[in-house]
Symmetry: C2
C-alpha cells in the first residue's frame, strides 16, 4: 500500500483533477449534450496520456469508447482490466440542487456534483490509484487495460458490441469495476450478485370499443377483469410465482457467500422505502430475497377510465407491464416464454391476449472462490476499519456478464459510493473519506495481484464463463 | 284509438312542432347552453298551454322543471303522471353529423337531430297523443300530470329533490315514461327492469414513492401486485362474485316475466360489440344475464408506468374503479359495504387500502302483475304488428324507483326509440313510423286506462312501494 501521508498531500491535487472532469456535463441521454460527452472523452484521453497510459478513442456508437493500456509490468505479471464510464445522468432542474450540478463543491466531507459517485468519482479512484502507484513505485505492479465508455446510462450499446467483437483486445486475468456501494463509510463491500430480468407487456382486448357496463355487463367479458385474473394467477399471496418451471434452474446461494452477507438489511430497506411491512419469502433474509431470489413485479396497469369520478365503462383493452428479476441459472428467454405461456393459458374465453417481451438481461453471480476475491477482502481490510461484506444488487448491469464472458476472467466489483449518494437524483455526492480509502484499497489490491503466481493459486479456474 | 287517417293528416304539423323544439340546443351539461335550456322550458310551457294544460315552471336546480296538469276528466277518472326530459346530450363535433344536430332533417323515414329519440321525440309522442285525444274526443279520458325536467343528462338533481319533497303534487294511479326502446320497428317492448349500481374506487398504497424494482423487488410489497390479487379474489373465472352475502337478497326473475323476454338477444349483443365470445352465467340467457342478474365490472386500472417501453418501477400506488350492477332485492349501500369488506380482507400485509363509494343507485323491477301492464300490452298490440316483449335495461335510471315510491303508483316504461338510434352519438334519429305508431299506442293506452274501475281490478295493489 502506498504511504497514507503521501496520499494526504497529493489528495487536493487529485480532487482538482476530478473537478475538471465533473465540470463537463457529459449527459449521454440528451442529444444536446453530445459535444460535452465528446469533450469528456477527449479530456480523459489527454489525462490518461499524462498518467503514462496509451489511450485510444474508439468511435463505436453514439459516444466514444476509450481503451488505454500500460504493459510496463511485463509479461510475467498479471493483467487487470478496469471498466468504468464517464457519462452521467441528466441533472434535472438546477433549483433542486443546493449547488449547481456541474460546479463541483466540497462541503461537510463530501464532494457534490453530478457524476461524483456515478461514475466519474469512482472511476477516478482507479485512475488515481494507478497514478499513486506510478509516482511512488516508478512502475505499475500489474499490466493494466482501461475500458471507459460514454454510453452506460443509455444501455452501453457500443461497449457491448465492442466487447463481444474485440475480446482479443481485452484479455486479462481479472476485471475490476468500481460502480457500486460501500456498506457504510467504515465497511466496504464486494458486489457478488446481479439479477437478470425478463420484462413483458401483456395486452388483453375484447369488444371493438369501450362499452356501457350497464347495457353489456354480465355477458361481455371485461378485458380488465380478465387481465386481473391472469396476473393474479401468476403468483400466490406470498408472491411465489406459479408459472410451472419458474424455479427449476435457480442455483441456490452458496453457504460461504451467505455467511458474508451483512445483517440488518431489512431495517435499511424499511427505512429507505417507508413501506408498512416487508413481504416475500419470509424464511429468507431480506438481503437474499432482494439480491439472490427471483421476483415478479407489476410495473404498470392501464385500463378504461382513470380520471376523477365514476364512469361506467367496459374497457375495450387492458394492459400491464411486468418483469421477473432472475438469478443465476435462470435463462431470460426461457422465463419469458414460460410466463407468456402461463398468461395465455389463464386467459378466459371472450378476450384476445397479446404478450411480448420488452427486454431481457442475464443474471450474474461472482466466482467468489476465485483467488481475486480473497485478495480483494484483504486489500479492503487494509484501508477500511471493518471487514468487507458480500452484497448483491437486485438490478441488472448487462455489461458485467458480457465482459466476463469475453475477457475470460472473473469480474471483481468493489464500489466506493455510499448508500443515499443520490446517483440519479439531485445533490449527488461522494464521500471524500471514501475517495481516499478507495485509492488506498485499490493500490493495495493491485500490489497484491502483482505479487505473483502464488497469490493466484486458487481452487477455481481463472478462465471459462460457462456458468454466467 | 284515434283514427289512423286523421293522424296521418295531422302528423306533418305535429312534426313541425317537434322540429321547433329540436332546434333549441338545450344541452344541460354545458354551462354556455343554459340560456337554451331555459328557452326550451319556456317553449314547452307555451306549447302545453296551447294544448290546454296548466303548466308551471319550477326553479329547483340548474335548469327548470315543468309541472303541468289537466284534470278535466274528473275525479272518477284515474290520473296518469307522464315523465320526460327536454335536455339533451352534447352533440359533439358538427363534422361527425351528416346534417347539423340542431337543424332537424327528415330523410329515409327518419328524423335526424340531437334529441330526436332522447328524449324530445319520445316526449312529443306523449304530448301529441294528448293533443290528438283532445282534438278528436274534446276531452282527455284520464286526468294527466306532466313532469318534464331539464337535468336528466346531469343526473336529475333538481327533479329527484322535487319528487322526494313534493310527492303530494304528483299523486297518480300510474306513471308513464317513454325513454327507452322498441325491440324493433314492428315489435314494441315494455321495460320491466333497471339495474342499480354500487360504484367503488379502491386505492392501494405501499412505499412512500416509486421504487426501483431491481433494488427492492422481493421484499417490498408491490401495490399493483396486491391490487390485482384483491380484485381477482372478488370473482371466480365465471365472474361469479365471491364476496359473502352478495347474492343473498337477489330476487329471482319470475317465470311470467321470463316467458315474455325476447329470443336472440345474445346474437344482438355479439353483433353490437364484436366481442370474441360472450361470458358470464352460461346457464342463463344473455337477456337475463344483462338485465336481471348482478355483475362486477372493473372500469379503470391505473398504476406505475404505462407509456411506451420498459420501466422497472414498483409503483407507490395502484388504483381501480369498479362497480356492481344490482338487481331487485339488493341494497346498494349493503353491497358497497360487503365489497369493501372483502377487498380489505383480501389485502396482504405491506400495503394500505382505501376504498370509497363513488355512486349508488337503486335497482328497479316493474310490477308486471299490475293492471296497467295488461292494458299496455293490449294498447301496443293495436298499433304494432307484433306483440310487446318484456325487456330490461342493464343500466340505471335513478328517477324511476324514486318516482314510484313518491307517487305511490307503478311506473310503466314504454319506449319508442330504436336500437342504434345514436342517442349519445352523432346522427341521432327517430323512426317516423315509430313516432306515428307511438302516438296511436299512447292514445289507446290512455283510453283503456280511462275506461274505468273494471279495467283496474287487479291482483296487485295500486299503491305502496315497499319492494322498490
Amino acid at each position: 500500500m502506498i504511504d497514507r501521508s503521501w496520499l494526504g498531500e497529493r489528495l487536493p491535487g487529485f480532487l482538482d483533477d476530478l473537478d475538471a472532469l465533473l465540470r463537463i456535463p457529459s449527459v449521454s441521454t440528451q442529444p444536446e449534450h453530445a459535444p460535452s460527452v465528446a469533450q469528456a472523452a477527449e479530456w480523459l484521453v489527454v489525462h490518461l496520456d499524462d498518467l503514462g497510459l496509451e489511450a485510444e478513442r474508439i468511435d463505436t456508437g453514439a459516444h466514444p469508447l476509450i481503451l488505454a493500456e500500460d504493459n510496463t509490468a511485463g509479461p510475467t505479471r498479471p493483467t487487470v482490466l478496469i471498466y468504468g464510464h464517464y457519462d452521467v445522468q441528466p441533472p434535472g432542474p438546477d433549483a433542486a440542487w443546493d449547488s449547481p450540478p456541474f460546479e463541483p463543491c466540497r462541503r461537510d466531507g463530501r464532494l457534490y456534483a453530478r457524476g461524483a459517485t456515478d461514475n466519474k468519482g469512482q472511476l477516478f479512484i482507479q485512475l488515481k490509484a494507478l497514478q499513486a502507484l506510478r509516482e511512488t513505485h516508478r512502475r505499475l505492479p500489474v499490466n493494466v487495460k482501461l475500458l471507459l465508455e460514454g454510453e452506460e446510462e443509455i444501455g452501453s450499446p457500443g461497449a457491448l458490441d465492442f466487447v463481444r467483437t474485440h475480446a482479443d483486445r481485452l484479455r486479462a486475468d481479472v476485471i475490476v469495476v468500481s460502480d457500486s456501494h460501500l456498506w457504510s463509510e467504515d465497511r466496504p463491500s464486494i458486489l457478488v450478485g446481479l439479477r437478470g430480468i425478463a420484462y413483458l407487456e401483456v395486452q388483453v382486448t375484447g369488444p371493438s370499443g369501450n362499452l356501457h357496463s350497464g347495457v353489456y355487463g354480465g355477458a361481455v367479458v371485461n378485458p380488465a377483469n380478465a387481465l386481473v385474473q391472469m396476473l393474479a394467477s401468476l403468483q400466490d399471496t406470498h408472491w411465489r410465482v406459479n408459472a410451472p418451471g419458474f424455479y427449476d434452474r435457480v442455483e441456490p446461494l452458496d453457504a460461504a457467500t451467505r455467511s458474508l452477507l451483512p445483517e440488518g438489511y431489512g431495517d435499511r430497506v424499511r427505512a429507505e422505502t417507508a413501506t408498512p411491512a416487508l413481504g416475500g419469502e419470509q424464511e429468507r433474509s431480506v438481503a437474499e430475497r432482494t439480491w439472490f431470489r427471483p421476483t415478479l413485479d407489476i410495473h404498470g396497469l392501464k385500463a378504461g377510465y382513470t380520471d376523477e369520478g365514476a364512469k361506467t365503462v367496459i374497457p375495450a383493452r387492458a394492459t400491464a407491464k411486468l418483469s421477473s428479476r432472475l438469478v443465476l441459472g435462470q435463462r431470460p428467454s426461457e422465463i419469458s416464454a414460460l410466463l407468456m405461456a402461463h398468461l395465455r393459458a389463464s386467459a378466459v374465453a371472450g378476450v384476445r391476449v397479446n404478450v411480448r417481451t420488452l427486454s431481457e438481461a442475464q443474471p450474474w453471480r461472482a466466482r467468489t472462490d476465485h483467488w481475486a476475491y480473497g485478495l480483494a477482502r484483504k486489500a479492503l481490510a487494509c484501508s477500511f476499519p471493518e471487514p468487507a461484506a458480500f452484497v448483491g444488487d437486485g438490478g441488472s448491469l448487462p455489461i458485467i456478464p458480457v465482459l466476463e464472458s469475453a475477457v475470460g476472467a472473473p469480474a471483481l466489483l468493489i464500489g466506493f459510493g455510499l448508500p443515499g449518494a443520490n446517483e440519479h437524483a439531485p445533490n449527488e455526492w461522494l464521500s471524500l473519506l471514501a475517495f481516499e480509502r478507495g485509492i488506498l484499497a485499490v493500490t493495495e489490491l493491485l500490489e497484491r495481484i502483482g505479487e505473483g503466481p502464488t497469490a493466484r493459486t486458487s481452487t477455481a479456474p481463472a478462465t471459462g464463463s460457462g456458468h454466467v
